[in-house]
């Protein structure tokens, strides 16, 4: 019974991992990148210079927004913070929304290039660019599969700690297997947290039955009932001039949030009405929940109004899962920890896929279609995705700035490069395809900072002058990625021949030994044999 259970677990681990492995790799890698969503966006909009919040910022914004006319329904001011440098104004008339970017001490207008920035990775990792075609359901199923693979993966190890402390370096496949076990054990808590919270975020999509059964409006009504809102504004209120000096409110905000009065966003609803209100949102990095704390003031007198009523506990729990997944609370150190855990999980998935294939190729003489498909998808799914991501950054720098539909074109470039990589992997021998795609990715990573400098040397100079660690960090990250990829390519180049010969030899020796033993000892299982089997089996039957 017991070994049987373990065997089922191994089977489950192997095939849940294989079936959605490539999808999971794409989701994990792009999701990991979106931990640095704001930083990536900053690099992708080099027109915006780094700046801190200064006192005049809000007053300048208010003056600019007032000039947009008195029939505007809503203003919104996004202020730069520690991680993002966007000072953005938005105003809304009915359903029509317009926006502009400001910068500098006096607030000159700038037009940054149109791009989705890091946000593309964020939306891609759960919608897969298939929002209206069930992309979020697919992502949810993938999360569930990851949980299953993780859970069954734990059972595949007979001796958990011994496997954890083993890293055999002699053969690539063994190193990979050991690395797979090691990374798996290290990232268990991270993966559990990420997958579980991912499923909770879209709980209304994945488990709508209860709400549909008990409420007429389904999940939408449920959400409206458990979420709290500010009271609705009555239309037709008298005309009142909104405040132009924000310091009245700033003083109150500083009193109410003494430890950290950083404001993330200011929304003004019905700015020219007597019942208009100013909603001040605090930065989200101070709480675990994804709901931002707000204060509400009158738009013409600056007097405090009734704030947001507290939410129901059940809703808060969901918010906290949401917040945990997004990690807005994470300070730089913790953010890097999350990022590295994410990268390790991606490497875990990728190594699993590679192991599946080579474990089987070792044993069979005649390849069948399954091996071919897995091999090609491995190349396109792992190396191809890397290429596509880097291609996305290239598109950001190389596409003309004032072209139409620029943001869409960047995403188009991402998808197109991925497709090309798949085609390339289909028509080249596997080893060469791996080598070519990885070395291209490495070269591209190393070249991008150079291209950036050649294109506009002032950007780098400005970043150095302003101590813009985010900009410099991104370039550095590109170089490090390029070097790592280069190392991988080199390792791939040297090893395959030696390893194959070695493995073939080892295999022959082993077979001989086994044959001899079988001949000598017939069916008796001696202690020695048992020991040998355990030694060989502990890792071998993992996969």
């Amino acid at each position: 019974m017991k070994p049987d259970f373990r065997r089922t677990m191994i089977w489950l681990h192997t095939y849940t991992g294989l079936l959605l492995g490539w999808l999971l790799f794409a989701i994990f890698l792009t999701g990991t990148l979106s931990y640095f969503n704001d930083e990536i966006s900053q690099w992708m909009q080099p027109e915006l210079s780094a700046h801190q919040q200064h006192e005049n910022m809000i007053n300048i914004s208010l003056a600019r927004l007032k000039a947009q006319g008195t029939d505007v329904d809503k203003w919104r001011i996004d202020l730069p913070g520690q991680r993002n440098n966007q000072w953005r104004l938005q105003w809304q008339k009915g359903k029509e929304r317009q926006s502009l970017y400001l910068q500098g001490e006096s607030g000159e207008q700038v037009t940054p290039r149109a791009t989705q920035g890091g946000n593309f990775f964020r939306t891609f990792h759960y919608t897969l660019e298939l929002r209206n075609y069930g992309g979020r359901y697919i992502a949810g199923i993938a999360a569930m599969f990851m949980l299953l693979a993780l859970f069954s993966g734990i059972f595949t190890h007979r001796r958990f700690f011994r496997d954890f402390f083993t890293l055999r370096k002699k053969a690539v496949l063994k190193t990979l297997t050991d690395f797979h076990a090691l990374a798996g054990i290290v990232t268990i808590p991270f993966c559990l947290m990420i997958c579980a919270s991912a499923l909770i975020i879209y709980i209304g999509l994945y488990m709508p039955w209860s709400a549909q059964h008990y409420l007429d409006g389904g999940t939408r009504e449920l959400n409206q009932k458990v979420t709290t809102y500010l009271p609705k504004l009555e239309p037709g209120s008298a005309y009142r001039e909104p405040i132009s000096d924000f310091s009245v409110i700033a003083g109150q905000v500083a009193k109410l949030w003494p430890e950290n009065p950083n404001i993330n966003r200011i929304t003004v609803e019905q700015p020219f009405a007597a019942n208009g209100r100013i909603i001040v949102e605090r930065t989200r990095k101070l709480s675990l929940s994804n709901k931002s704390e707000v204060l509400v003031f009158s738009s013409h007198s600056g007097e405090p109004l009734a704030g947001m009523p507290p939410e129901r506990i059940a809703r808060k729990i969901r918010r906290i899962f949401y917040g945990l997944h997004e990690g807005h609370f994470a300070q730089p150190g913790l953010r890097w920890l999350f990022f590295i855990s994410g990268l390790l999980s991606s490497a875990l998935i990728a190594s699993g896929l590679v192991i599946w294939l080579y474990k089987r190729l070792e044993k069979v003489k005649q390849r069948h279609a399954g091996h071919f498909i897995v091999e090609r998808l491995n190349i396109a799914g792992i190396a191809g995705l890397l290429l596509a991501i880097i291609g996305y950054f290239y598109a950001n720098r190389l596409l003309p700035v004032d072209i139409d539909e620029r943001a869409r074109l960047e995403i188009g470039a991402f998808l197109f490069i991925w497709l090309v990589s798949l085609q390339h992997s289909l028509f080249r021998p596997a080893n060469k395809a791996w080598f070519e795609q990885l070395s291209l990715a490495s070269l591209a990573c190393l070249l991008l900072p150079v291209i950036d400098i050649i294109q506009e040397p002032s950007r780098l100079m400005r970043a150095i002058e302003q101590h813009n660690l985010i900009y410099l960090g991104f370039e550095l990250a590109l170089l490090v990625t390029g070097l790592l990829l280069y190392k991988t390519v080199k390792a791939l180049l040297v090893k395959p021949k030696q390893v194959k010969q070695k493995q073939v030899k080892q295999k022959q020796v082993k077979q001989k030994q086994v044959k001899q033993k079988q001949g000598k000892e017939d069916k008796k299982v001696t202690l020695k044999h048992k020991l040998k089997r355990i030694n060989a089996g502990s890792k071998a039957d993992v996969v």
Partner: protein, 94 residues
């Protein structure tokens, strides 16, 4: 039974059966909560829905712990039956 068939049956029980049991539990736990803890309806629904994920995972584990696929399916049916009964008789509480 053919091992491949048995395994597929087991997986089906775990994934599809588990989801059905979880969905039923999200229905059944609402009247239970309302009568035991005096929760509000919307809270009860949200909690039951979130809790159903735990049920799902528990059922999946359970399916792979049974000695045969038919037992796994039997269990799925038993759980569904229990939750359906609770639903049926608990419906009057709302």
């Amino acid at each position: 039974m053919n091992p491949a068939l048995s395994l597929s049956a087991r997986c089906l029980a775990a994934i599809v059966g588990g989801y059905i049991v979880a969905a039923l539990s999200s229905l059944a736990l609402v009247p239970v909560q309302m009568s035991l803890f005096d929760n509000r309806l919307e809270d009860a629904i949200l909690i039951a829905t979130m809790f159903s994920y735990l049920v799902y995972i528990a059922v999946i584990i359970d399916c792979f712990c049974r000695s045969s696929a038919s037992r796994a399916w039997r269990n799925v049916l038993v759980y569904s039956g229990i939750f359906l009964t609770v639903c049926y008789y608990g419906g009057g509480l709302i």
